[in-house]
Amino acid sequence: MILPQHELEDGRKQVQRMTAILEIHDLHVSYRSSGSELSPALKGVSFRLMPGEIMGVLGESGSGKSTLAGSLVRLLPGNALVTGGTVQFEGKDLLQANPDELQAIRGRHISLIFQEPSLALHPTIRVGEQVRQVLAAHGSRGKRTLNERTRQIFAEIFPEETDRISRSYPHQLSGGQRQRVLIAQAIACGPSVVVADEPTASLDPTTQMEILGVFRRLRERLGLAMIFITHNPALLSDFADHVLVLYAGEVAECGPAESVLGLPRHPYTKALFQSTPAVSGKPGTGRKAKLPVILGDSSRSSLPIRGCCFEPRCTERMEICKEREPSPANLSVSHTVSCFKYES
């Protein structure tokens, strides 16, 4: 019996649901600095992303989130070096793929939303054309369909002022508008994985909700899976399925969103969540009071040579923390924490 197209597709998705669409195993990335010494940015990161899953990534500034995002599509600055690990996409190791294979995958199957929109857009090409080029790169459709599709994407992301924005140059747009152009580029070809590096950092809450809505719709329609890097834990609470917390290039905690956000286990995660001020209307609720911060920093020179890398800043440190590194402890099937407190 010949199945209609959509049922075939459904069937394929069913099969894919069993296996991870993206599987990162023991990824190590270092940056070569001026003195040709290597400074590690990622130290053995592993996780899996299921089709249609949204994985939120939290972590301190400089903990390697953007490095992780870049290495998933092998787009790292010239001085970066992948020193180990694999990135399997649909069973193929992207770190071994040749340039042609990569070109076909990037933008079409996995796309990346860069952290800084002003850097990621070409300064002298209209943004509409920049989105059109992405579409044109993956499939030689006619000019008419290309333009039509470009318009559709812009209309979805910019319900108002669609035309003005698509005809503007990047410098004529506001920060948030530029950021949304990056999002338009990333979703243009209907990829199965979007790696989004702080895609809503310069968007106001209202627009942010609209954009999250766009992502949600894509997930329902096309089974889009996402790696969603953000600094706003609250944003993940009813958006992400899983949350991964990075600290100094290592996975501190990884688990279902409700449990990581609702009941954080790792001392770093706990401390991180305490620093956010609340939108409180109550008069005099500690305004101008100091916000709690995590003392110290995670720069290379202040990391311990031995033991847990969060130990110097940890408020719950124990003797053992100084001696060796914790290994990920399973709290449940999918919730792991790298801390001795949970090691049995």
Binding site: E161, A201, T206, H231, L235, S237, P292
Partner: protein, 280 residues
């Protein structure tokens, strides 16, 4: 100049007074009529010294345009900007540069304001050298001091700004602005690329500086919680206009405008649906 009553209740001369500021972008094309876009539509407000005004609003509502006009980077179509009693719109190039040192702007996208060919150290040193007030030792000490205050380590001083993470770059821009100890500091989304803890650290630093140096901030942000925590007064912008202004308590408890309500309703919270109400 007139003495203004401010939200804090004290009677002081405003540090900055903006009157009917208009910025219109016109796009001339060869064919057809020129297109116009009103980015700022007669904006007026005052800030008294030592206070913080937070500006919130939807993307594209003209916040960065306002910041650029105040920092003399863009000339407004019409309107006045009084800074310490001087109208800086009409100042010529030389005098403008003098004022510009007193008004520092931290850009929304730090990458474009930092020279990629310099090292982080050079980025920080340059404003200090231009001031010609310090000798080499002092300069070095100051650079290290400010690096530490924004939570950057010594490891990064030799790197180019492009070799830093987004948040580190942002903090470099903040440190650079702070080395000049300006009277008015405009922070255009300056905390948006930072994680919660570092954000809190910088916010604490800014509040401390306000206490000790009497700095004045114009704090443009999308983070309503931070705005409420940090600001004495909040202005809500919509399509180039300030639609609502007042102390955080008032704005967040009894928002009068639809825009404000929409913004507040959309703030995500842990453990709640995104439609959840304001109170926590």
């Amino acid at each position: 100049m007139k003495v203004e009553a401010t939200a804090t209740g004290k009677n002081v001369h405003p540090l900055l007074k903006v009157e009917n500021l208009v910025k219109r972008y016109t796009k001339r094309s060869l064919a057809g009529t020129p297109e116009e876009l009103l980015a700022l539509d007669s904006v007026s407000f005052t800030i008294s010294p030592g206070t913080t005004l937070a500006v919130v609003g939807e993307s594209g509502s003209g916040k960065s345009t306002l910041a650029n006009c105040l920092a003399c980077l863009e000339s407004p179509t019409s309107g006045n900007i009084w800074f310490e009693g001087k109208d800086i719109v009409k100042l010529e190039e030389r005098a403008c540069r003098q004022v510009r040192r007193q008004i520092q702007l931290i850009f929304q996208d730090p990458a474009s304001s930092l020279n990629p060919r310099w090292s982080a150290f050079e980025v920080l040193v340059e404003p200090l050298i231009l001031q010609r007030k310090f000798n080499r030792e002092e300069i070095k000490k100051r650079v290290n001091y400010w690096l530490g205050r924004v939570g950057l380590s010594q490891d990064i001083v030799g790197r180019s700004p492009m070799e830093l993470s987004g948040g580190q770059r942002q903090r470099l821009a903040i440190a650079r602005a702070l080395t000049l100890e300006p009277k008015l500091l405009i922070l255009d989304e300056a905390l948006s690329a930072l994680d919660c803890s570092v954000q809190a650290q910088i916010a604490n630093l800014l509040m401390e500086l306000q206490g000790s140096l009497g700095m004045t901030y114009l704090f443009i942000t999308h983070d309503l919680a931070m705005a409420a925590h940090f600001a004495d007064e909040i202005a809500v912008m919509d399509r180039g206009r300030i639609v609502e202004q007042g102390p955080p308590n008032k704005i967040f408890i009894q928002p009068e405008q639809e825009t404000t309500r929409r913004l507040l309703a959309a703030v995500p919270r842990i453990g709640r649906g995104d439609q959840s109400a304001l109170e926590r």
